[in-house]
Amino acid sequence: MTLDDVAAGLASSDPETRRRAAGRLVSESGERAAALLIQALGDGDWRVRKEATSVAMSLAPSPDILRALVETFAPTEENVGLRNAAVEALGGYGAAAVDALGVLVHELDPDGRKLSAEALGKTGEAGALLLLRTLMEDRDPNVCAAAVEAVAAIGATRIDEVAPLLLHYLRVPDAILRLSALNGLNQLGVVIRWEDIEELLRDPILESAALVAAGRGADPLAAESLVGALAKTRHTVRSAALRALVDFVRGGAIAFEAARGALQRLPATERERLITLADEPANALDERRAALVVLGALGTREAARVAVRALADEQVNAEAEEAVLALGPFALPALLENIRRAEGRQCAAAIGLAAQLTDQDTYREVTQTVLPALTGGSDDDTEAALVALARVGDRRALHPIARLLGAQSVRVRRAAAEALADISRRYPDAAREFARSAGVEATSALAAAVIHGALKAPVRGSVEEDLAFLSAAVSADDMLLRRAALDALAALDSPQAVEVVAFALTDEELEVRRAAVRSLGAMQTQDGTPAGLEPLFDLIRRRPETELLVEAITALGQAGDPRALQVLRPLLYSTDAFVAVQAVESVGRLHDPARAEILSEGLEHPDPEVVKSALQTLADGVDPIGQRQLARCLGHEAWDVRRLAADLLGRVGGQAALGPLRMRLSEERDPLVRQTIQRALAELESADTTVRRTTPPPSRER
């Protein structure tokens, strides 16, 4: 399609034809194309304007287009749709738009200056601040308000400069300006002094935003006002107070206690309303979630009952869990009651939480309550009970847990082994006695092998006796027993133990061979020298199946011996990305001066997974080679490599990373990578800030 065709399309009476014609401009350039694009941006139909805006933002910012866009802010232009589209398009042009607006902004009328401020805010460019500062002092209040909002929009990268500016605007007479500044500070997470917030709370226009600020600030003096606002007549204020209280109770132990005190002084009817809000599934989900979190600070048995009940509802169970943990001892009776009644999914959650809340005074009762849940319930309940007993269980639990080591469910078996090992470490005498009573053919042999793995040798009187038992177990019929015995052998310092484990590399079951490899990697002599390396080197030279090879590479990394470097280095070039990734990770674990240089070779691998692994491993080190390589990968062809490089530079790159990140941002087109670069820049640029900020807590559900 030629530009004449586009022009004809844009002249059509059919909006869809005009929209399609505007879309064609994406592959055009030059003055005429710019003029047509401006024509499309000013189209009477919003769909055509939207299409044109999208085209404008995907094009490189040519001087023709920039000039034409800025000129739409002139007083002679009356097309509102065109002006709004120009704001969007200029916002997408970043630094180039800032320069273009800087030339013209002071010649524009108030409307034009206001639009300029909006466009500057949308650029996200720190360079726009200078211009915006002048617009904040504009004689027209609408221009000032737009400039304040724009400053907040780009403030994250210049927090030291922006926060005082916005704080200053909290004291100006105009309430709208104050609200813009307050919203901006909330958006940037800047902590505002309680004395300042208290004053803002008196203004109905600012009240909700001020409550948000008070919640984030978590000053204990704010507790009464926040809790008091729960009883206000306006729903918007009550709702803002509830959400603010969520931030407040999450703001640390002092704020939490202050909230608890204030909630206890709340009239009974209001407390009841809070409990009902948290309890009733028909209530708005976000309010119910917030109410549950606040219940955690209420500290009553009724609050505990509601929170425990809510564990069964997947939509609010994360907040219910948070409330139960915050309620602490208040919640334990309700949890134990729930476990006794064994109500499905709720039961597993209750078991886990009860274990976390158990202390020296209650562990016997909790163990007694949880033990029956090992049998008869779902696998989830059994697993939860095992995990709980791993923390609170005593010697009474050894036998019931041992019976579950051969369970059908992998998760149950694994939890049983972990629980048995944990209890054995807390009650070693009882565990040794149990292990000594087991013969290799007995059903309890598996438990004995697990106990051998958990306790220091000797378990049976002497290292030789331990070795004899475990050697026999490695030859047993039961695959689980062979595997557990190999895990236990890893802790024995004995050349015979190495021989037994090395022979297990011939086992017919892959899982057993993998256990043998792991064990060889972990074996050490008394002075800490790796004892199982030679069989591992042999195995790698013989090139076994991938899974075993990868396990062996992992084991070499865990052994941490620099001799492994020569075996691992060629594997970095493996065409099997799984093997190469594992080699990269294992090289990363070795303490060798050549480590960073060898890892850099991984960046040349054709598979992006290997490159990502090398990048991550280099970032974990502190060497300057690694830092340079991170910056180089900003230009990698795979988007996920570029995103990872940007992310890592934001975390470890320091001020030296600012240049490469800014340069990449000007070229990057992938929205996810751009977002990551912008966040990395914000992190680096505000790294030395003295401004106190809060960050939003991780979300639980959407």
């Binding site: 059919d14 055509v48 923390r391 979300s699 959407r702």
Partner: protein
């Protein structure tokens, strides 16, 4: 020694492994998760890491990437990450608009062919699809018509649950007693959808990003795609909307969730103002861009 082990996470998900997993899910399914969604991954995927006898989330990531069974495990992970509880008659104001304004229009429009097709795209465990069927039935406008309600979801587990049609208490948070009596029968394992509603609904597993696959559902009078777009990144959202557009008959309606809009996504639809809601419509022909 203390009788208690210190409280510590059994299987911690560290941010670097979360970022790897998040990008993999994005790459494979277009699903978008923020940095602060780490807890969702932790809570929902930890049981899989344990079940596969893996030592860490990092091992799980490598399993998904490199193991021969990685692809089917990825389906399982997507299942777990996207399954959210929903309930019957959710966002009732929109459903009223559907029943009172859209269904009468469609009854007029399709009078000759006597056929009505509605797609619940991203139907989770089926509550929305069955709700639509109940509303169609309640309207009394389509007796003797060929009514097809299609429910699709990316989660195998959700589709299986939808097909089963057995629900528990949380699914009825906004369902009146009368509707519970009319459309369900009580059994030991929960409330079962009655057959006359069940037979109107057909369920299948579909990735909304996959236009070719989506074509299997045929052409639709109405598409419900509520609270689904939030899971996709901007790029993928556009593709999903394009696919939904292709599935709609000219004049067909698209209903999004209350917090969702096509702003910045598509200019192909026209906006229709109903009494209680705004919905989107595929234009009947070029030139009919007039809001009602």
């Amino acid at each position: 020694m203390s009788p208690l082990r210190p409280v510590e996470p059994r299987l911690p998900l560290i941010p670097r492994d979360f970022r790897l997993l998040r990008d993999l899910i994005n790459e494979q399914a277009g699903l978008h998760f923020d940095d602060d969604d780490i807890n969702i991954f932790d809570r929902r995927l930890a049981p899989r890491v344990l079940a596969l006898e893996l030592e860490s989330f990092h091992e799980y990531y490598k399993y998904l990437r490199f193991n021969l069974r990685g692809n089917s495990e990825l389906d399982e992970a997507i299942d777990l990450l996207t399954t959210n509880e929903t309930y019957f008659f959710r966002q009732e104001y929109q459903l009223r608009a559907f029943r009172d304004e859209l269904l009468p229009r469609l009854a007029d429009k399709n009078l000759r062919k006597k056929r009505l097709s509605v797609w619940s795209a991203g139907c989770s465990t089926g509550e929305e699809a069955y709700t639509i069927a109940m509303l169609v039935q309640e309207s009394g406008l389509f007796v003797g018509w060929d009514v097809r309600i299609i429910g699709s979801d990316i989660s195998r587990r959700s589709v299986a649950a939808a097909r089963r049609g057995v629900y528990q208490r949380p699914s009825f948070r906004t369902t009146s007693e009368t509707r519970q009596r009319n459309f369900f029968h009580v059994e030991e394992d929960g409330l079962h959808i009655v057959d006359q509603i069940k037979k109107l609904c057909h369920f299948g597993r579909l990735n909304l990003l996959d236009g070719g696959n989506a074509a299997i559902v045929g052409v639709m009078d109405v598409v419900f795609c509520r609270n689904v777009l939030i899971y996709f990144d901007a790029r993928s959202r556009r593709r999903v909307i394009d696919n939904l557009y292709d599935r709609l008959l000219p004049g067909g309606y698209l209903l999004l969730g209350h917090s969702e809009s096509l702003l910045n996504l598509s200019t192909a639809f026209e906006l229709v103002h109903l009494k209680e809601d705004l919905v989107y419509r595929r234009p009947t022909a070029a030139g009919s861009w007039i809001d009602e």
